[in-house]
Amino acid sequence: MGRYVARRLLQMIPVVIGTTFIIYALVWALPGDPFAGRCGARPCPAAYVAEMTDKYNLDDPLPIAYLQYFGNLLTGDFGETFQGLSVGEELLRAYPTTVRLALVAIAFEILIGIGAGILAGLRRGSFLDNLVLVSTLVVVSIPVFVIGSVLQLFLGMRWGIFPATVGGDASLYNLILPGFVLAALSLAYVARLTRTSLAENRRADYVRTAVAKGMPQRRVIGIHAMRNSLIPVITFIGADFGALLGGAIVTEGIFNVPGVGNLIFRSITARDGVMVTGAVTVLVLVFLLVNLLVDLVYGWLDPRISHG
């Protein structure tokens, strides 16, 4: 296990360097005016251009400039907007809300996604199974912002069951509707993945062995088949958590949840490029970090991976 962890950590380093380099190069080093669209509707003030050129070493050759930028990242300095706001501080303020929203979404994925998947997987070909298959296909096809708008319109505005916007009060109750919308797509995947995985494992030889050992049906399915079936599902949900921490731009925008996604959403509208790129860089790093954790959990869940 220790060697597996070490190997995964080592593999992580070039990916982190690579991704940050790509983002840096996209933002600052491609031909064209790097300051176009970075300071709202008007051109950037000369003083800000000078400051940024200095801070991001834009006059240095790309590799050196990048190294200095990477050094800044390591010390937690994600830059400053033209209005003088620190990207890092803004993110720190918004992040807890996003984490909470992502947790609500994950709860939906686990409860509804795994639940529906198990019901469908245990009764392949039943009405319930077909219902799950069709409804997940429909959910997968409807883009999040459509689901969000429609649910907001009906559940929020017309029927008033849930608050239509979250605003300053990001309580768990207020986050139910945006959390569900955020989870919708992954929920469908989780349901399908659980269904397929469980249906496959139920036919596995070791499940037959468990029956032959005289284990009660509950234990055969609940422990022997389930433990194996849930490995890919848990891996997916874990990876999705990383994506949700960054992918909530649309949902947070629609429901006005004061999280990182909303910060990016507002910064795009205000054409504040520095905030957008800074925040996205952080999100990508978080995404990678969570993926690393998921890999480690995967190694722990499936001994064949880590006990090579």
Partner: protein
Amino acid sequence: MATTQAGIVPRPDQAGVTPLLEVEDLHVEFRTRDGVAKAVNGVSYTLHEGETLAVLGESGSGKSVTAQAIMGILDSPPGFVTGGAVRFRGQDLLALPDDERRAYRGRSISMIFQDALSALNPVFPVGWQIAEMFRVHEGLSKKDARKRAIELMEQVRIPAARERVGDYPHQFSGGMRQRIMIAMAIALDPDVLIADEPTTALDVTVQAQIMQLLADLQRDRNMGLILIAHDLGVVADVADKIEVMYSGRIMEQAPVHDIYAAPAHPYTKGLLESIPRVDLKGQELSAIKGLPPNLTNIPAGCEFRPRCPYAREICKEQRPPLAEVVPGRFSACHFAQEVLEGDIEPVQQ
């Protein structure tokens, strides 16, 4: 003969004792998209305490399906038991409700499988999987169950059992994995052990060790052992009695030495002639020509006729029943007597 006659009440054997396990006129079919495959068509056999019964046949002969039906682990659907009885000490298991039947699995009748790697759960340590028998069936504590698991691993001769109890199946060699399977199967001291081609996936040298282990355990514990195999060579030294299966039916039934000395069915004869033998070195090995019949469409008459070198007109029309040839020996062949005595010539094709 006695084998096809139906009986509801426990039927005393010739010796007047109830057999340990009695399979009677068992029928199993698989309902698939391509039709109904009749996998087992009226199989009957009995097993006594301390007896080793070998069931032989090619793949698709129904030998494994019979065993799965005995255990009650058929994949259903598509598999269904459509008739017959499986009596354990007189109690028909097929007539029991699911939860009562479960009590027999693992405790009274146990089974080991051909491919131990896929038959063991990959995500639980082997010790846990053995200990599970004690924890679920006997309600032992984690600690005690683990202790018993280690003891069992030692009994099946796994070196350094104490150190390896927490290892996972993929960390063991094929032979060691099969030993773990065996340890699990004998954990609750079952009366009947069914071994479904336990050595097929193993190296030849390991095969012999596993067979020896099974034979020793069977003798020490006085278990009834059903040994499923696809060739005679593997079971010759350990079996008492042999059932030869073909196309879901028993073709020949006899004590092991009698069968070796002189088979009473052309199929058994073919099987024997296809084993490489030291004393016949240099001679050409003969394989049985052709393929087993399609189980969704078994031809009328004798199932073996299309491949039988001795087939006559009668074989096309009448399916020969399993009948006694000489006392203690049964064969499902119109010319069983002639085959037994070597008094029949192959038909020129």
